[in-house]
């Protein structure tokens, strides 16, 4: 065979019905999940600071605080607790995506700094309060 085609499109259409169904299903799942999270969220009472998978410290959300987490090799993350909300205000990581993340307040919301492996997670929501009353 003389000129073997390096590129071939064997009857590929640009769009099939399944593509549309796929898109709709995914968007529906995504929107559904967002709504489910939105309507079931409850306030938390504490923020748990984790460094490299180990729980470092837990702070009460009622007390305004500014704290810096110090990691290995000069890594650091500074966050602030103010009026019940936790926000990352500065960090040593190169992309500072953690700083750009919105402030958190609801149970199980997180701010994550992947390069420094720091996680701020809101804990101690209503559910846990009920457990501790029972205990």
């Amino acid at each position: 065979m003389q000129g073997h085609l390096l590129f071939e499109i064997k009857g590929e259409n640009m769009l099939k019905k399944n593509d549309l169904i796929l898109m709709i299903v995914i968007v529906a799942l995504g929107v559904g999940a967002i709504l489910a999270i939105h309507f079931t969220k409850e306030s938390g009472s504490k923020v748990r600071v984790t460094l490299k998978q180990e729980e470092l410290k837990t702070f009460k959300l009622e007390e305004n605080t500014i704290y810096t987490v110090e990691g290995e090799n000069g890594a650091w993350n500074t966050f602030e607790i103010k009026d019940g909300y936790v926000d990352m205000i500065d960090a040593s990581c190169p992309d500072k995506l953690c700083v750009a993340q919105k402030s958190i307040h609801y149970n199980h919301e997180t701010i994550v700094c992947l390069p420094n492996q720091v996680v701020l997670e809101i804990v101690g929501g209503e559910e846990n309060a009920v457990d501790s009353v029972v205990n």
Binding site: E8, K16, L22, L97, Q101
Partner: protein
């Protein structure tokens, strides 16, 4: 024949660099370390234009070279997880013949994000990072669809050159 293949690899890798550079200029502020997945364009072009093995090789080359240029070893881990899962799902989707290039690209896009989220969750041992997934599914599907359209246009054009 080999030289044409090599030239095509080179062209696609170069395109991957340009796309990755553009991606690095548009960060995803609220989601930790996750990108738009524009570079998936070269993988899907390779998948439909060359083959699934070539697409795998291209994925690896792209991840490693771009990783060293724009990132570091840890960002490369996320890229690898997303890229490999994305490649695998795209190959399976293409083989199933249920979808066109657009559908395959959508699957590639969301798999990329899912792969990265999984690695993130394992790295920091916190399953609640999964709350970022819904937004990523939606954006991954939309960019995947756009990439799919673009990819189909590119493969059609390039076909004329050979």
């Amino acid at each position: 024949m080999k030289s044409k293949k090599t030239a095509m690899y080179g062209l696609l890798v170069a395109l991957a660099f340009i796309l990755s550079y553009i991606e690095s200029l548009i960060p995803f502020p609220f989601i930790p370390g996750i990108k738009l997945g524009l570079a998936n364009l070269v993988v899907i072009v390779a998948l439909y234009g060359m083959g699934w093995k070539e697409a795998f090789v291209l994925s690896l080359i792209r991840i490693i070279l771009v990783g060293f240029t724009f990132g570091n070893l840890s960002t490369m881990l996320y890229s690898l997880a997303g890229g490999l899962l994305s490649w695998l799902m795209m190959v399976l989707a293409k083989k199933s013949k249920w979808f066109s290039m657009v559908g395959v690209s959508i699957i590639g896009g969301i798999s990329h994000n899912i792969g990265q989220i999984i690695v993130a969750i394992l790295t920091v041992s916190n399953v609640y990072l999964v709350t970022y997934l819904p937004v990523l599914l939606i954006t991954g599907a939309i960019t995947g669809a756009l990439i799919g359209f673009l990819g189909a246009l590119i493969v059609k054009r390039i076909k004329r050159l050979f």
